[in-house]
Subunit: 393 residues, 2 copies
């Protein structure tokens, strides 16, 4: 059965496949084995929390892609991909999480059956869902193939978003706007962090009356006080304290499309260094956003921002952003373009970046960020959260 | 600085390290490089959503473990691990998500600095967070080392839970009980699925007045109608329909300890095959739970259950469960013991399993599951959700 609820028209999936094949051809790749869930979804429509098992989408020069995974996920594939059931194949459960055998042994058989076991095979060798053992098993089982690294080959095809993808991102932007409105409304001293996270999830999932929200590829991160120095801490059940800052790095998500947007909130007194950080960040963002238009490079954008921070005597040791869009855990970044020195990728209309302007010191940190769509003559921020430090007394 | 909010006493971390080293010694491993976030957390206390970057914990024969990760996560490590700052080391941001260089090049230097670049090095070669490229980079950078696979070496040390871990699991059981109470209270025809998921998350995160909840390693899965055939579908914003079944496979989580518990719910009319499935499942679970005690094997437990299903003419092609406890996305299973034919592991008090009794056909499926602690003379189910099919008219 062909999925009845595809998120994109058949033509869009075919365009994606064509773009991917062109790049395969350019690199001399005969068959591409994709392990990245976002690439699998982008090319086939497949959607399910099954990436904790070995699975793949195989693209060859002709015909529809092949979905391959665990037996218990074959029905999920048949219900979500745009092509016919015969291209959904699976391995039996005895391969799952056992030292006795490896699922990739089954994939070798699937490839041999379809005469895809020779020539040049592209693999996503630096993907979360393609382990060292998976690679060794393929190498051992396909002696006639030559393997080349094709990590982020498909990610790059996703860099410029289609009109429908931009529409989904705008929806995600509406959702994250509501999430920050909820924080501002509910956050107060003595509230347990887990209770505030419950509010954030409620806003994220209920979305709007017209559309609901999806799960984020990274859960809310909300360090407080001296923990602001550590940007990837999640939450606990301890109370928020007065006269303490917290930043919230959160994303609105619609049909797996992510719009991350961070803001810093202070309960009670706002320390002077937070006000200074706000001033520097907002000026840096303004200057950066003036540069962020077609024709400029990722580096141009980053340097424009870094220069302002430096002028204020602030140091940021991490990149100033990265491409975002469709994603699955554990990351909402696309792993292609970074806003950093040395990345000379030229900006094009339809590219979308998380302008990640946060910085972290030994005992504090600060985050005000935007997700930015490059338009034909400039850019558009996809959430409507006021760009400022929020103080609540 | 040593973390002030450790989830376990120093002695417990030292016991864990001792157990791990004994197994390293038995296998002739000089240094162990751990990529699995749950193993990293279990051995050091480290907690943060940073596993989307290459990171590791290194265990050598002497001294405290070493935490290694991205520069922006070093402060998070210093705030969560039980040992001193000098054992938290990081790589600079220019290594992040770029084809120009790989973070594992930095790890090679760290190992050489500490004279851990020779001898036998154990790696988690089939872990999500240890890619094929990570392996190749280590092999190229450490010519004097011999590498052996140590996937699930530490997972096995986690199989028998400590009293404090069991306490955390009981808290997680209380949370999942509340989550199902919330579903029963709120679920109704025409409600959007995303709104029901908002209710589930609210119950999960608010927990109880005494303690709050953590994020699950797998998000709620709740297929309905013919989608019941596909066990890993998540949710959308479409309305629930009357006269349709939905199962909810969800976990309560406390400090990263998971108690998954699934139940099937019917709105309106309950089809006869659901009632038959309920009868078979409950009888199978009862028979299985009578077997599940110290001295029996995982296989004994599984076969006792499978035999009852077969008697009812039902077919289950997947394993009947797996070990659970501490985990990070993308899986809440421990990847060690499975309740299946061929797994002759002997049950011991303190082991905990998700008794995953669900089965799936072409156009429907059914799930009533329990998370089960093996006690000194039998077992204890960790949630208090009534073990039945829930029908709401």
């Amino acid at each position: 059965m062909v999925a009845t609820k595809l998120n994109f028209g058949l033509e869009e999936y075919q365009t994606r496949l064509r773009k991917t094949r062109l790049e395969m051809q350019r690199r001399g790749i005969d068959a591409l084995i994709l392990s990245e869930p976002a690439n699998m979804a982008w090319l086939t429509g497949y959607d399910g929390w099954s990436f904790y098992n070995h699975q793949a989408v195989i693209v060859s020069p002709e015909g529809d892609p092949i979905w391959w995974g665990r037996c218990s996920d074959e029905n999920g594939a048949k219900r979500t991909v745009y092509f016919s059931d015969e291209n959904c194949v699976s391995y039996c459960d005895s391969y799952v999480q056992t030292p006795a055998c490896h699922p990739m042994e089954d994939l070798c058989k699937v490839l041999a059956d379809r005469k895809l076991d020779k020539g040049v095979i592209g693999l996503e060798k630096d993907n979360y869902y393609f382990s060292a053992t998976a690679f060794e098993t393929l190498v051992a089982g396909l002696p006639n193939a030559k393997f080349v690294d094709a990590t982020v080959l498909v990610n790059w095809q996703r860099a410029v978003k289609s009109p429908r993808e931009i529409e989904y991102m705008r929806n995600a932007g509406q959702i994250v706007t509501r999430m920050h409105e909820r924080i501002l409304e509910k956050m107060e001293p003595a509230m347990r962090k887990c209770d505030l996270v419950a509010e954030i999830y409620e806003a994220a999932l209920r979305g709007t009356p017209e559309f609901g929200g999806d799960y984020p590829s990274i859960v809310p991160m909300l360090p407080s006080g001296s923990e602001l120095s550590a940007c990837h801490l999640t939450w606990d059940d301890q109370p928020l304290r007065n006269n303490e800052g917290t930043y919230f790095e959160i994303a609105g998500v619609y049909k797996r499309y992510h719009v991350p947007t961070a803001r810093t909130y202070c309960l009670g007194k706002v320390p002077q260094h937070f006000l200074d950080a706000e001033e520097a960040t907002l000026e840096g963002m303004e200057v950066g956003l003036e540069v962020a238009k077609p024709g400029a490079t990722c580096e141009d954008w980053a340097v424009a921002f870094f220069d302002v921070l430096e002028k204020y005597g602030l140091e940021k040791t991490t990149r100033a952003g990265y491409s975002v869009g469709l994603s699955y855990p554990p990351d909402w970044g696309e792993h292609t373009m970074s806003l950093r020195r040395g990345d000379r990728t030229v900006l094009e209309p339809g590219m979308i970046f998380h302008f990640m302007t946060g910085f972290w010191y030994e005992d504090w940190g600060f985050e005000i960020t935007e997700t930015v769509l490059i338009t034909s003559d400039g850019n558009e921020c996809l959430s409507k959260v006021p760009r400022k430090l929020f103080a609540k007394h």
